[in-house]
Amino acid sequence: MSFRYEVRLSGEGGQGLVLAGKILAEAAAIYDDLNATQSQSYGPEARGGASRSEVIISDEDIDYPKAVNIDLLLALTQESFNKYKDDMKPGGIIIVDDYAVRDVTENGYKVYKMPIIQLAREKVGRILVANIVALGIIAGISKIVSEEALKNAIEARVPKGTEELNLKAFQVGLEASRNLN
């Protein structure tokens, strides 16, 4: 049977979640030879405010590119968590930044509270790459795309000169997720 996996990445403008979504989609679509779509929602101004980026991954054509039954939710801020936590699939995965998102009412979901931003700051040295750290964590927890594919996608997509930094961030995320087991 076919599968459809829905990921929603949320946070605030400037946290790079659109890029993260695009990388996730490319990893799945180009390197893992699945199908994938990525879409985002804008505030009224396309700048600032809560931001949402959605990735659908499937082995079939993806007709409806919006998340309606979410398998995995990432939230980097409390505001975005509150705003975008609906539409979760029962038993789905919720990954939040443990510092920014304090208030998680978890019933029926697998909730992971991870120090995403802290990891970016302390282990990679730049808060800006928290999005990629998050990708590492997502890859580790969900296994929806291969590590290899994600690495390729990151390398291809991030600004020239920052590849190493970002790959490191990915690795940090990945390892953090491994420590969970």
Binding site: K22, A29, I30, S39, Q40, P44, D63, Y64, P65, K66
Partner: protein, 385 residues
């Protein structure tokens, strides 16, 4: 939505695919004015066009943008502009000019919520009737609507081909979802693409009639500067292109403008049928809502309901006869669109009371969820079948 091809897989948005399709079709002049959610088309082309020896120009407004692409097209260049509702409204006068003077060009409208400034970042299909009737005076128009990133590429190419073939502006009606969704595609290589170029005159300057009443109804079009000096005017004109107030000449022009589209409707009209063979309920949709509809069809089939989808790729001219024909086989229509039922009205007209026409609409900026459609299908399957 990712039909394989020689190329390698890419994940790109509809707006990017539109830019790529235009370049593939030979577009070498783009003039535009930024507006959400179409701006990325301009942004991609501002970087790429010089690499193709083409010209990108950001104009002072949309009035100027369409003026510039009509002017540039007259030199023999394939041209395009892209905008959204408010800008499309501003282009209406010159859109009519392009129709009247028969200048090929492509106008992209990535639809967002209206009316007015409305919902600048949210999707809609509210400009479908405007595409048909936005400019003053009676006229024919061609408008296409893609439902995927790959199809955006394809229909952009097709828009140029139709514009060139029929010497007319062609409107590409995208919507915010299609414009902004990133999707896996394999873009075709150059030799996989059919590109049509306008017919140019071959005879002598003296014999050249730029608005000739030919059998095909489409006169040959000379490039400015190629030796065929002629006159172009938005006034009613005769076959030589000069203004006339003579009823007989005017009728000849008006009829030809009408016929070049209406006589060729089969060539222009294009649609897709999905699970229609045994359908009792027919959904009609286009653009991004056709994705929701197709999804809903699958779900309904899983529920054992015989439902199919007619998906319009050509919005104008309208597929009324095709719809009429299908109406003989199905029991009812459900028209799904992100507006109050603009195309549903046309379906009702085409069906002329033979079978009922129902609507699924949404105008609040939220996309239509497949479940919303499924619900309607179920409800009607119970009551009507």
């Amino acid at each position: 939505m990712s039909e394989k091809s020689n190329g390698k897989a890419r994940v790109i948005t509809g707006n990017e695919a539109c830019a790529e399709g235009a370049l593939a079709a030979g577009m070498r002049f783009f003039a535009g004015y930024p507006i959400t959610p179409s701006s990325e088309i301009a942004e991609v082309l501002s970087a790429k066009l010089p690499k193709y020896g083409g010209v990108f120009l950001q104009m002072e407004d949309e009035l100027g943008s369409i003026g510039a692409i009509i002017g540039a097209s007259l030199t023999g260049t394939k041209t395009m502009t892209a905008t959204s509702g408010p800008g499309f409204s501003l282009m209406q006068e010159n859109l009519g000019y392009a129709v009247m003077t028969e200048v090929p060009c492509v106008i992209v409208n990535v639809m967002r919520g209206g009316p007015s400034t409305g919902l600048p970042t949210l999707p809609s299909q509210g400009d479908v009737m405007q595409a048909r009737w936005g400019t003053h005076g009676d006229h024919q128009i061609i408008a296409l609507a893609p439902f995927s990133v790959r199809e955006t590429f394809d229909l952009t190419v097709r828009a140029f081909n139709l514009a060139e073939k029929y010497r007319t502006p062609v409107i590409l009606l995208m919507d915010e979802i299609i414009g902004h969704v990133n999707e896996k595609v394999y873009l075709p290589s150059e030799d996989e693409i059919n590109v049509f170029d306008r017919i140019r005159p071959t005879g002598s300057l003296e014999e050249y009639l730029p608005y000739e009443h030919t059998k095909s109804r489409v006169p040959a079009m000379a490039d400015f500067g190629s030796g065929y000096r002629y006159h172009v005017t938005g006034l009613a004109h005769d076959e030589t292109g000069f203004p006339t107030n003579k009823a007989s000449e005017i009728n000849k022009l008006m009829d030809r403008l009408d016929q070049k589209i209406s006589m060729n409707r089969e060539d222009i009209i294009d649609f897709d049928e999905y699970m229609m063979e045994d359908a009792e309920i027919a959904i009609l949709s286009y653009g991004s809502t056709a994705r929701s509809s197709r999804h809903a069809v699958r779900l309904a089939r899983e529920n054992g309901i015989n439902v199919g989808l007619m998906r319009l790729r050509t919005i104008w001219p309208f597929a009324d006869e095709e719809i009429k024909k299908i109406s003989e086989k199905v029991k009812l229509w459900i028209v799904v669109e992100m507006n109050r039922g603009q195309i549903a009205h046309e379906v009702e007209w085409a069906v002329a009371g033979k079978i009922p026409v129902f609507k699924v609409n949404r105008i609040d900026g939220d996309p239509i969820n497949p479940l919303q459609i499924l619900e309607k299908i179920k409800e009607l399957a119970n009551v009507q079948l």
